[in-house]
């Protein structure tokens, strides 16, 4: 299984939606970590585990942008089978990500 630990690999303080909003945005996270790791997981036929715990908090716009883009790029169905989300501190993040993925399907 391929893994991303946002707090350790991207930072405990994250930004908002796009590059224009400032550093450590959801768009930056998608480009630098989420997309490449997802592609790697897909190429190797593995799952991608994303650990959301340990940050100072993730803005809804950060989650929406990064995972929405992932859903748009690879399709919600593919994500449902390959993406494993870990959020013990804030289970609500998982709900928000699922909503973003579902919305990306209808965009």
């Amino acid at each position: 299984m391929i893994e991303i630990n946002i707090a350790k690999e991207f930072g405990i303080e994250t930004g908002a939606r796009t590059y224009a909003d400032g550093p450590k945005s959801g768009e930056e996270f998608f480009d630098k970590l989420l997309k490449p790791r997802y592609e790697q997981a897909k190429a190797e036929g593995k799952q991608l585990r994303v650990i959301l715990d340990g940050t100072e908090g993730l803005a809804s716009s950060f989650l929406n942008e990064s995972f929405g883009r992932l859903g748009k790029a690879f399709g919600a169905e593919d994500l449902r089978n390959r993406l494993v989300l870990i959020s013990n501190e804030m289970p609500k993040y998982i709900v928000k990500i699922q909503e973003a993925i579902d919305e990306s399907d209808t965009r």
Binding site: E13, T14, G15, A16, R17, A20, D21, G22, P23, K24, T55, E56, G57, L58, A59, S60, S61, E89, M90, P91, K92
Partner: protein, 181 residues
């Protein structure tokens, strides 16, 4: 074992004294005490005192359990209420906020609120604070941002409205705890 005996001993003595007092009082007839021992009366006295003690212990336990639960819920709610007030007072005289300030507030608030909801569920206390805080976060996040600093000057009225709604919800939850506990 000794600790148990130590605890039981005073109760047993009090129980026996209670039985004797109860018994002798049942024997008073026109201010004359009948010194003959009546076995059925004695048994009735023992049973009455036993039931009395049992009821007293059960009621006391229930009362203190419910009081502890109530105090615990209020302390948890107070913690979140205080955190919210500090945050709200902090932004009320400003027109911008850094994401590094907003994100931890929202996360910590929701974590504490999740814990509260676990306690609220069994006693059927409804709580919409999580939804309201999400809506407040959305207002901030929709405002213009630069270098992770949110300029909410154009959304101040909306934020004030939401702030008042959140305060009202705190009061409503507080009153509901008072009613249910």
């Amino acid at each position: 074992m000794k600790a148990i005996l130590d605890r039981i001993f005073p109760y047993s003595i009090a129980f026996l004294i209670g039985v004797l007092v109860c018994y002798f009082f049942t024997q008073i007839e026109y201010l004359e005490i009948d010194t003959k021992v009546s076995v059925p009366d004695f048994i009735v006295s023992v049973i009455s005192i036993g039931i009395g003690i049992y009821l007293a212990v059960v009621i006391q336990r229930r009362q203190s359990h419910s009081q502890n639960h109530y105090n615990y819920l209020l302390s948890k709610l107070d913690l979140n209420w205080a955190a919210y007030n500090t945050f709200y007072e902090g932004i009320s005289h400003r027109s911008s906020i850094e994401l590094r300030e907003l994100n931890p507030f929202v996360k910590q608030f929701q974590i504490r609120n999740n814990d509260l909801n676990r306690l609220f569920d069994p006693i059927m206390v409804s709580n919409n604070l999580d939804i309201l805080i999400d809506e407040l976060e959305d207002i901030f996040l929709k405002s213009p941002k630069q270098n992770n600093v949110i300029d909410f000057s154009s959304s101040k009225t909306e934020i004030e409205k939401k702030g008042k709604k959140i305060s009202k919800e705190f009061v409503r939850v507080y009153n509901e705890i008072n009613k249910k506990c």
